[in-house]
């Protein structure tokens, strides 16, 4: 509930008439003003406390958004550790709640992997075969949630989000694309799709309302390649052919925008998914297309200047 996506989901849930009480847990305080929600500031490693909070509240619906994308807020090692700890604590606590009817967990289209000859636009029926560490982290979350769902007999919805971009969402892809000089793969320049954070939050609410019980791709319509995104953003494109990617990654890291393995894979092999089933099952359709989300990414101000120094009474 403290991250941008969590705060958005909480704010939208507060407005839902079917939501009675709302409790959230995160390592950061909420980014938005929440009127009725109760918030607990807890670290992923505080499993006992998390289990206490969840079991005492005994929810009907549980939404797990605790995913640390590598190089978004922390490096790969910590991201892996935090995600694993949070999944164990929250999904484990869910199994102890007698009133629980449904659980919705965050996953990503990285679970499909981009091995050679894998489908260009995988559907939910495509086997999970992650090829990056982030994809494996997400696959583990799905597996844990599925096992708990089977054991205690609850609906488990898994929302496989395309890379989430938004005004305040920490995203290695967004950070990379907003650099003044952006590398891209000259020979591949593969297409990818993204989703805006507001749309992703609406998908979670819709999944909770409908008691979703299967995996679902959440992807903004349309696609874009890295070079097209760079041109749209009026950035300087830096074409790369292969070995120099290692140097570009190091330089980008020094510039404050580390490029994790799954973003390199996105640049080389693309990342698309078929999101049409979300409309069938949830009646959900993203408001923004992928090119729109990219345009919004570049429309954000880097620094907001507030004028001269003055006294405020």
């Amino acid at each position: 509930m403290g991250g941008e996506l969590g705060s958005l989901v909480a704010a939208q849930l507060e407005a839902e008439p079917w939501v009675g009480a709302l409790v959230g847990i995160d390592v950061d305080p909420p980014r938005r003003r929440l009127r009725t929600a109760e918030f607990h500031l807890l670290q992923p490693s505080q499993r006992e406390r998390i289990v206490d909070v969840v079991t005492n509240f005994n929810p009907h619906v549980l939404i797990n958004l605790s995913v640390w994308e590598p190089d978004a807020r922390t490096g790969l090692t910590h991201a892996r550790q935090f995600t694993a700890d949070a999944t164990t604590a929250i999904v484990g606590a869910a199994a102890e709640c007698p009133a629980l009817e449904s659980m919705v967990v965050r996953s990503g289209i990285e679970v499909y992997g981009r091995a050679r000859n894998t489908p260009t636009r995988p559907t939910e029926l495509t086997p999970v075969d992650p090829t990056t560490e982030y994809g494996r982290m997400l696959a583990n979350i799905e597996r844990s949630a599925r096992e708990v769902g089977k054991r205690v007999g609850i609906a488990v919805g898994k929302l496989r989000l395309a890379p989430v971009l938004g005004k305040h969402v920490p995203s290695p892809l967004g950070r990379l694309l907003r650099q003044p000089v952006v590398p891209f793969s000259l020979f591949a320049d593969s297409p990818f799709a993204v989703v805006e954070d507001g749309d992703a939050a609406r998908a979670f609410v819709a999944a909770a309302v409908n008691r979703l019980d299967e995996p679902l791709n959440i992807v903004a319509p349309g696609a874009i390649t890295a070079s097209q995104a760079i041109v749209r953003g009026k950035r300087i494109p830096m074409p790369l052919v292969g070995p120099e990617w290692a140097i570009a990654r190091q330089l980008s890291h020094l510039a404050g925008a580390p490029i994790p393995e799954h973003v390199v894979e996105l640049m080389h092999r693309g990342r698309l998914a078929d999101g049409s089933r979300a409309l069938e099952l949830l009646g959900f359709q993203p408001r923004l297309t992928t090119p729109d989300v990219i345009d919004h990414l570049y429309a954000w101000e880097s620094v907001v200047r507030v004028g001269r120094i003055r006294e405020v009474a």
Partner: protein, 237 residues
């Protein structure tokens, strides 16, 4: 009481901004395109169209059989090195004003991504099924043949995608010459299965039927027409 602080702009920052503006100015007028859900770039296809016209002058027929909306699977014959599926997909796209995606792109750089940008899909049943469910026109090829008037076997697993998606299947007879620009792509009427089958026989039988339809259309095209009668007679064997 509170104070709003503003940090002074740095001269270096100004210089960087100016340099960035100079470098990105040429991009200001560059068209900002995007690709569709499968990575096909309609603007690139349009830009390459004059090149395709240089190589092929395709006469297209039978497009009235194709649905105006909704997905359909098209099956064409292909001769070795003739790029039949590419020119047929391109010509049918122009004639129907709908993107026609061809199946059979490789998945390695640089050819795979390049063909994806002009509408190529992988030869996988799930890839074809996904496109058909999204109401796309998809063109698959018969097995490659050395003879321009011979339709090879049709991969029944790809036809199975059409059976599962419940979309119609159309034969497309293609003919082109290695020596001239003349080419032809003729769409036949929908192939309907002779019997209703519940199991995998449906796709196997439909694949055989489609192959026969394509072969019949190729036979109807007549023989080689080089403009030199003796050569045409020799080619007829």
């Amino acid at each position: 009481m509170a104070e709003i602080l503003q940090f002074p702009r740095r001269a270096a920052g100004k210089a960087v901004t100016a340099a960035n503006t100079v470098l990105t100015e040429p991009l200001r007028h560059w068209p900002a395109h995007s690709v569709d859900d499968y990575g096909r770039d309609p603007h690139l296809v349009q830009a390459l169209s004059p090149l395709a016209h240089l190589r092929w002058n395709v006469s297209v027929g039978g497009t009235q059989h194709l649905p105006v909306k909704g997905g359909a699977l098209l099956v064409c014959n292909t001769r070795r090195w003739a790029l039949s599926n590419i020119f047929a997909a391109w010509a049918l796209s122009e004639a129907t004003d709908r993107p026609v995606r061809f199946v059979g792109r490789p998945d390695f750089v640089p050819i795979g991504p390049m063909l994806r940008r002009i509408g190529g899909l992988l030869a996988r049943p799930d890839e074809v099924l996904g496109a058909l469910r999204n109401h796309e026109l998809v063109l698959v090829s018969c097995a490659m043949s050395n003879h321009s008037r011979h339709a090879g076997e049709v991969d029944h697993s790809l036809i199975g995608a059409a059976v599962v998606a419940g979309v119609p299947v159309f034969p497309v007879a293609t003919m082109s010459s290695a020596m001239s620009r003349t080419a032809r792509a003729e769409v036949g009427p929908q192939v309907r299965p002779r019997r209703k089958r519940k199991g995998p026989l449906a796709e196997v039988e439909l694949a055989e039927q489609v192959q026969h339809h394509v072969q019949r259309m190729l036979d109807g095209f007549g023989g080689l027409q080089t403009g030199v009668a003796p050569l045409d007679w020799l080619a007829e064997g």
